[in-house]
Amino acid sequence: MLSAIGKQVHVIWTQIVTLALVFSHMFRKKDTVEYPDVMPYMFPRWRGRIILTRDPDGEERCVACNLCAVACPVDCIALQKTEDENGRWYPEFFRINFSRCIMCGFCEEACPTHAIQLTPDFEMAEYVRQDMVWEKEHMLINGTGKYHDYNFYKVAGKSIGGKGKGEARNELPPVDRRSLLP
């Protein structure tokens, strides 16, 4: 009998403790960020709007290797490779359908030249669905993005106009195989 009463008192007491605890939350700092009035802090590595960057010399970084399009799980990237007169590869068109894009960042990880990068911008709503399809001129920026001194053609062995075999950074001149004859 007494233990039953004690149990009921305990039940009520725990409920009162809960009430007091929840009431104390009324006077704590609110977690809400009133977004349109106050911009929330966006982390630099946030995966948002996709950009195409240029190398330090101002040339397009993208070499149209299609690795991003292959890595993309929703197939939202479409591009076509072409070459300029120096033998540099670049995309003839580069199209991302942002109504499909899930901002997973796989394209950024797949990119061998740091050309495609994700940014902290997330405000990409549009009224017309077709406006969600972005072309190269919409995404190409003038800067280098997150990697300031990487220049693919300066470190790669491929010869282009103005840079022959063996002239890249940390690259030895090509070996003349015939001179190795005994």
């Binding site: 809960t18 009430l19 929840v22 009431f23 977690d31 809400t32 009133e34």
Partner: protein
Amino acid sequence: MFTFEVGSLLSIAFVLGVVLVAAAMLIWVERRLLGFFNERLGPNRVGPFGLLQSLADVGKLITKEDWIPPFADKASFVIAPLIIPIVMLLSFAVIPFAPDVGVMDLNIGLLWIFAMAGLAAYSAMLGGLASNNKFALLGGLRAAGQMISYEVFMGISILGVVILGDSFNMREIVLAQEDGWFIIPQFFGFVVFLIAGLAETKRWPFDLPEGEAEIISGFNTEYSGMKFGLFFVGEYIGMLLLSMLLPVLFFGGWMAPFGLDIGPPIFSGLFWMSVKTGAFVVFFILVRAALARPRYDQLMSYGWLVMLPLSLLNLLITGAIVLSQGA
């Protein structure tokens, strides 16, 4: 006719206006306070501090499609949501707001409240039954069981107040608390009445008839538009009614604590009545924010095995003391 006295036109208009506006504002108050308890801000966009949120909510509910399912029983489906706001508003007729402010001075005021509360159970029952939906039926069943069983000891718990106040008349009960509020001699009666009242208004944590985690939305699953809105408003009016009943029965109604009267009696009475009512409204919202819902068997066993003996014991002891004092 246009002076403040019980039953005058001015009084009636005042009571009706205050109750309806307060019930509408409660929608906003509850959401805002719940936000605060959850460390959020709550609705603060519509109007200053979000004060017009209720207006926006009502606008939304009215313009929504008012759909009657083809498999429902049309007549009772339409009648069910009308019952609860009507009977809850009728209950306010006997509430003494302040000296000379009120609709009726009924000498069986408390019984009137219980009669109306008994009718309110039909709203959820009919709604659940008429929807012809398994979840609605379960909700209606739960509502019927819960409201009928908790009404039993809700009634018994305030018999102590009736003994001490020597009347069923709400005004006389308030006046009988001149020398001391009934919360002190009737503490257990207050506890039982509070818990039973929560169950009676189907508010958290006793919202098993709705129990959205288990049975979608319970008895109002099939309701939409303003029909749902009537259930909604009826629930808030019920909460307001309970928040006014508790001060009237246990906290001295319109009487000022420690003789802190301000201004003329009507003004002072209205002020203290609204302060006490507001405190209980905040308490009920806090209960909603904090407490978890019991299982249905826990609800029933708690009612019959704890609340009923407690209220009977309270009644027995109160009666014995009053008799021994030779009243």
